[in-house]
């Protein structure tokens, strides 16, 4: 379908606008810019996220070079580079990759013809993209939280406000889709795992991003008018820095758990028992939102010395006041993640006579969630005062663990659903080594920061981190190259259901057509496609599980 009216020139020459190469290009550009197809918007988010990730990795490499004592960057420029690192990790990579996958896949899994409020989600994408570009322009002109150009600091704050609105709008759309556009027969208990994790993340965006926007409104007006309330541009990190904390980042990493749960069930073609437990795991991970909306980046757990001293009743009461919020915001999400991981391992138990079906979703999801878990543990440890980690690079390590873990999972998700999104089937033998390289990259980019937190900064740690970021760049470039060559060569033309899947996205053609499904499918169990396959056992409904 074209969205451009025939031009006068084209009519007079008897040509349709798409007849020339330029016309076809303009058609395609206009189609992508104005599209309300969730698959296109999702791919725009994913493409933007990959670009943002590459830029962020480049920034991390620059920081690594400087820390290793090889570079010699001006102190003022370094301040902007550190700002760009945080913005790039959270807003440039983590959020667009996680959300893009949700926007592209959730309606397909639900058996819906469209995402709810497609224009809203399209507007959300453009607000995010515009905000990110403006933030980078501000940083390039001495803006940012540590910037010296007041107008550019204002632009930086406004750009984040724009991104916050766009991401909240996208969250509304994702959550409304899961709540209202499910196929007939798909009760909430039958919602696929990835879609349920997307629901939790969507709701998280709805509650977290407006809080960020409100705080930014204060900061913006204060910065433009006297700077008496929040202390100038440094107030950005004092009052809104929580959005860059590893604890808040976990909220946007929940789809990683959903991806793993999807892949685990496919490994030995099993139906997942006790789905409610996995859903509870997603919900517990969603508790991370509380840490964000209470606007706390760090929950200090002081313990009066290094011997974990406990005094009288007053002391115990005070320590409980410190510990309970810390445990709520750090340990509950960790518990949720552990539940999902254990359920995945339970499903990974070999079944006699069934050949293992190692999908990219499982490989990348398992490794990505493992990385996110290490980041969450780091985030929890960071809060304990006695460990003396605050003011070190430990928090940076935790954030990179969470972000790169999510990036790995997003790559796995793109590979897993490549048949639906691009109409190609990425060969496992080519994709899976990238998962290994990505894990190595993540560990190298993060673990030395953990060690440096307990030890002291050394050149060797900085060099290892630098190597890690370079490897991550290679991982991402390798993935993009593999995807691009598969699309261009068309040698991996995908069948509709290459993984013998269970969920509705595999019921439609590859690539998924406009409007996704010719007719709305009817759902009779939590694994609707499995009901018609002899490779799967009896249905939940036959077992009495509705």
């Amino acid at each position: 379908m074209t969205t451009i009216d025939p031009t006068a020139e084209a009519i007079s020459s008897g040509l349709e606008p798409g007849d020339s190469a330029l016309g076809r290009l303009l058609d395609a550009v206009a189609d992508w810019l104005t599209s309300t197809d969730h698959k296109k918007i999702g791919r725009l988010f994913l493409g933007g996220g990959l670009l943002g990730l590459l830029a962020t990795v480049a920034i991390n490499v620059i920081i690594g070079v400087e820390r290793a004592g090889i570079g010699n960057i001006d102190d003022n420029a370094l301040a902007q580079i550190f700002d760009a690192q945080l913005v790039g990790l959270v807003f440039g990579s983590l959020l667009p990759l996680a959300i893009g996958l949700c926007v592209a896949i959730v309606p397909l899994q639900l058996g819906a013809r469209s995402i709810a409020f497609p224009r809203l989600v399209a507007a959300g994408f453009w607000m995010w993209a515009g905000g990110l570009i403006l933030a980078m322009i501000a940083l390039a002109n001495n803006g940012g939280g540590l910037g010296g150009n007041p107008d550019m600091v204002d632009l930086f704050l406004g750009a984040h406000g724009l991104m916050a609105i766009g991401l909240a709008a996208t969250g509304v759309s994702i959550a409304t889709s899961v709540l209202t556009t499910r196929a007939p027969g798909m009760t909430m208990r039958r919602v696929p795992f990835f879609s349920m994790s997307a629901l939790v993340t969507g709701l998280g965006l709805v509650v977290v991003m407006p809080v960020l926007f409100g705080t930014l409104a204060y900061l913006f007006l204060d910065h433009r008018n006297g700077r008496e309330a929040f202390g100038g541009n440094t107030g950005l990190y004092d009052w809104a820095g929580w959005i860059f904390s590893p604890g808040a980042a976990v909220l946007f990493a929940i789809p990683v758990a959903g991806l793993l749960a999807e892949g685990a069930a496919l490994l030995f073609k099993q139906r997942t028992p006790a789905r409610g437990i996995v859903f509870a795991g997603f919900g517990l991970m969603g508790v991370a939102a509380l840490g964000a909306v209470t606007q706390d980046a760090v929950h200090n757990v002081p313990w009066a010395g290094t011997e974990f001293y406990l005094g009288g009743s007053d002391d115990v009461r005070q320590k409980l006041y410190d510990v309970v919020p810390w445990a709520m915001f750090n340990l509950l999400p960790l518990l949720g993640l552990t539940i999902v991981l254990l359920m995945a391992l339970f499903l990974a138990k070999p079944v006699k006579g069934v050949k293992p079906n190692l999908t990219p979703a499982l490989a990348f999801g398992f490794l990505g969630l493992g990385m996110v878990m290490v980041g969450m543990i780091g985030s929890a440890l960071f809060a304990i005062d006695d460990l003396g980690l605050q003011g070190t690079v430990f928090a940076e390590g935790a954030l990179i663990y969470v972000v790169y873990g999510t990036v790995l999972a997003a790559l796995g998700g793109m590979a897993h659903w490549a048949p639906k999104l691009w109409g190609v089937n990425l060969q496992a033998a080519k994709v899976l080594p990238l998962a290994g390289l990505g894990v190595l990259a993540t560990v190298l980019a993060s673990l030395p920061s953990y060690v440096a937190g307990f030890d002291e900064p050394r050149d060797i740690y900085a060099i290892l981190v630098l190597v890690g970021h370079v490897l991550m760049a290679l991982t991402v470039l390798g993935f993009i190259g593999l995807l691009a060559t598969s699309i261009m060569s068309q040698d991996g033309q995908a069948e509709a259901d290459p993984y013998d899947g269970q969920t509705l996205e595999w019921a439609t053609a590859s690539p998924a057509p406009a409007n996704n499904f010719v007719e709305a499918p009817t759902v009779m169990s939590a694994e609707p496609l499995a009901d018609s396959k002899s490779s799967y056992g009896q249905t939940h409904s036959e077992k009495g599980d509705s």
Partner: protein, 191 residues
């Protein structure tokens, strides 16, 4: 692969109501977060300087209280529109929606009166900056609500069967009432 059997067209699941409710949650979170920051800053400034409200500034409480009472009318009119839509009573529906928009404009007017009576500029210190940020965003939400009411009124008058939109419209104004009540208590009563 065996195709699944085609089902009937999906039943509508109140998409606009759910979407509006989520939007309302976002609004409540935004204002709630701002009030939390306001309270924290108020405590900090009182501990540091002994006062938060700048000396000589008097808040016109009558206008703030009248605006609060006006929200009772707004909610009543919005619910009246829902009632009328269920009975397909276009006369009552359009009247109720118009009344909702009119009273909402009165609330905006009351807020403008508060601005002019207080005599505080946006750059007159921490209190003024935060006051204008908070109430300014509230005003933006009020204007969105007025546009919502006017659009709903025109659609309803034009013959659309808009039960769901009018229910969402009522939800919006209920939420705005809650938001204003919180602002009224924290900003105008507690000061």
């Amino acid at each position: 692969m065996q195709a699944l059997t085609a089902g009937p067209a999906a039943a509508p699941r109140r998409q606009i109501i759910v979407g509006t409710t989520l939007g309302v949650v976002a609004m409540v979170m935004m204002v709630g977060g701002m009030l939390a920051v306001w309270s924290e800053q108020r405590t900090n400034f009182v501990e540091r300087d002994g006062n938060w409200l700048p000396s000589g500034v008097v808040i016109p409480e009558v206008a703030a209280n009248v605006a609060l009472i006006a929200f009772i009318a707004i909610c009543t009119f919005a619910q009246w529109a829902v009632w009328a839509a269920k009975r397909n009573d276009r006369g009552h529906g359009v009247f109720a929606l118009s009344a909702t928009a009119l009273v909402a404009i009165m609330v905006i007017n009351a807020q403008a009166f508060i601005y002019s009576s207080m005599g505080v500029g946006i750059g007159d210190g921490a209190y003024a900056t935060m006051f204008y940020a908070l109430t300014g965003l509230f005003m933006a939400l009020m204007i969105i609500g007025v546009i919502f009411s006017v659009v709903a009124a025109f659609r309803f008058a034009g013959g659309r069967s808009d039960n769901e939109i009018l229910a969402a419209h009522a939800i919006y104004w209920y939420a705005m009432s809650v938001i204003y009540t919180a602002i009224w208590f924290v900003v105008y009563v507690t000061k």
